[in-house]
Amino acid sequence: MGRAASIVAGLAALALCVLAMIWSAMPPMAGPARAVVAPLADAAHRVVAWYRSGPADGHPDWDAAAREVFGGDAGIGADLIALHGCGACHAVPGITGANGSVGPSLEGFARRSYVAGILPNEPGGLTRWLVDPPAHAPDTAMPDLGLTEEEARHIAAFLYGQGGG
């Protein structure tokens, strides 16, 4: 490598290292950072949504439509799952620390046919289950966590959104 090129490359590497160190010390999503990252994250989400928006042959994707949860925000759902500690009993991919084995894993929930072996697996069924599990399955070990219907919709949106489908 030529001397000038080495110096430029070295300075660039140094700048990269310093930036990385500064990034590591900052709390997540501090104000200005959020303004930069949020539009990028939105754009990425839109690309993913377009990709998943339907089969290539142009016909409507009834499976996907059946899974859409109206008024459910998967982001809020993820926060609620962390707040209510669902991971104490269930393994939930995408939630830090959720690897419980008391109840079944919730990975790829959208592909299931039934909710808890009782209710059909569609947005209404899952939401109803989450609002009061013992009402549907009196012998279940899953307690009534006191979720409102809105909270249940957010959680359902998250569970359907992860892992394809």
């Binding site: 104490a88 009993c89 419980g100 008391v102 013992p134 070990a141 899953m142 307690p143």
Partner: protein, 316 residues
């Protein structure tokens, strides 16, 4: 002590809850300037040394012996004297106990914290969450009856080990209200990473009210559907290890559960406290916290587990 979701607050996910750079106690307050001062001073020394290396590399005239004397002897000597002069009085202030301090005895267990407020007086027993009054001196009496642990709340003060056969005292004076996080800081076995705890600092009168409220028997079975949970507690043999004042007295092998529902977190600062996590804990504690002394109670039926966890969540 209630926050959104109907659950008590917790330090989980709280940025800076366990940081020695956040000083909410007199000890941490005394140490932080030392930390920052040393960082700045030694940072300058470091940069000077690097500059000297650069300068020496390019220099043509040989160095004189005064380089060794000043850099190798005088500079360290000056730094050392300054350091000792500042840190010795700070140390003295850190370890000096107040005569009128509230004594809280904490025994480190594998892997939880057995807390007794005023052990020579009212001897109020609790676990894993410690409530302190703001502005009033507290002395922690630190013990262990198993392996070595270390009691550390970085936002309040430095740490102190809990060593079997020894009693260590740690004076603390909380200066700000809020919720802080502590963690065991001496490797103590399999679930050492999961041995944290919460510290809640209240205004003095709020603390007095809390202390008043926490003493006495369990406020349980407020609703009829909760009564069944108490029966499960007694039938399943939980009272062999866990005490609930007024329901099952005497057992000290596990944490006291009289006010368990009021705590912000479960399992030593590792999960938010609510009925769901309680159920998960009871059913499979060994998966959540391997090596804990409590076996997994996975032989309870679904309704029994729900009743028991609802009962415990109601004990505030």
């Amino acid at each position: 002590m209630e926050a959104d979701g109907g659950y008590a607050d917790s330090t989980l996910g709280l940025w800076g809850a366990q940081s020695s750079l956040v000083n909410a106690g007199r000890g941490a307050d005394a140490i932080l300037p030392l930390t920052i001062g040393m960082t700045v001073a030694f940072g300058v020394v470091f940069v000077l040394v690097l500059a000297l290396v650069w300068f020496a590399w390019r220099r043509d005239r040989p160095a004189g012996h005064w380089w060794l004397w000043s850099g190798g002897i005088v500079l360290p000597l000056v730094s050392i004297v300054a350091l000792m002069a500042i840190s010795t009085p700070t140390l003295r202030a850190l370890v000096t106990e107040s005569d009128d301090a509230l004594v809280i005895e904490v025994t480190g267990k594998q892997f939880w914290w057995d807390v007794v407020y005023d052990p020579d007086g009212i001897a109020l027993r609790d676990a894993n969450e410690i409530v302190l009054p703001r502005g009033r001196p507290v002395t922690f009496r630190l013990l262990s009856d198993n392996v070595i642990h270390s009691f550390w709340v970085p936002s309040l003060t430095g740490k102190m080990d809990m060593i079997p056969g020894r009693v260590n005292m740690l004076p603390v004076l909380a200066e700000e209200t809020g919720r802080f996080r502590g963690q065991c800081a001496e490797f103590c076995g399999l679930s050492h990473p999961r041995m944290a705890f919460e510290v809640v600092v209240l205004e003095p009168d709020a603390f007095d009210r809390w202390l008043e409220r926490t003493q006495g028997e369990a406020r349980d079975a407020a609703r009829p559907e909760i009564v069944e949970g108490r029966n499960v507690f007694l039938d399943a043999g939980c009272a062999a290890c866990h005490a609930i004042r007024g329901v099952a007295e005497g057992a000290r092998l596990g944490p006291d559960l009289t006010r368990v529902g009021a705590r912000g977190s479960l399992g030593g600062g590792m999960w938010r406290m609510n009925q769901g996590t309680l159920a998960g804990w009871i059913a499979d504690v060994q998966d959540m916290k391997p090596g804990a002394q409590m076996p997994s109670y996975n032989h309870l039926s679904g309704p029994e587990l729900r009743a028991l966890s609802a009962y415990l969540a109601s004990l505030e």
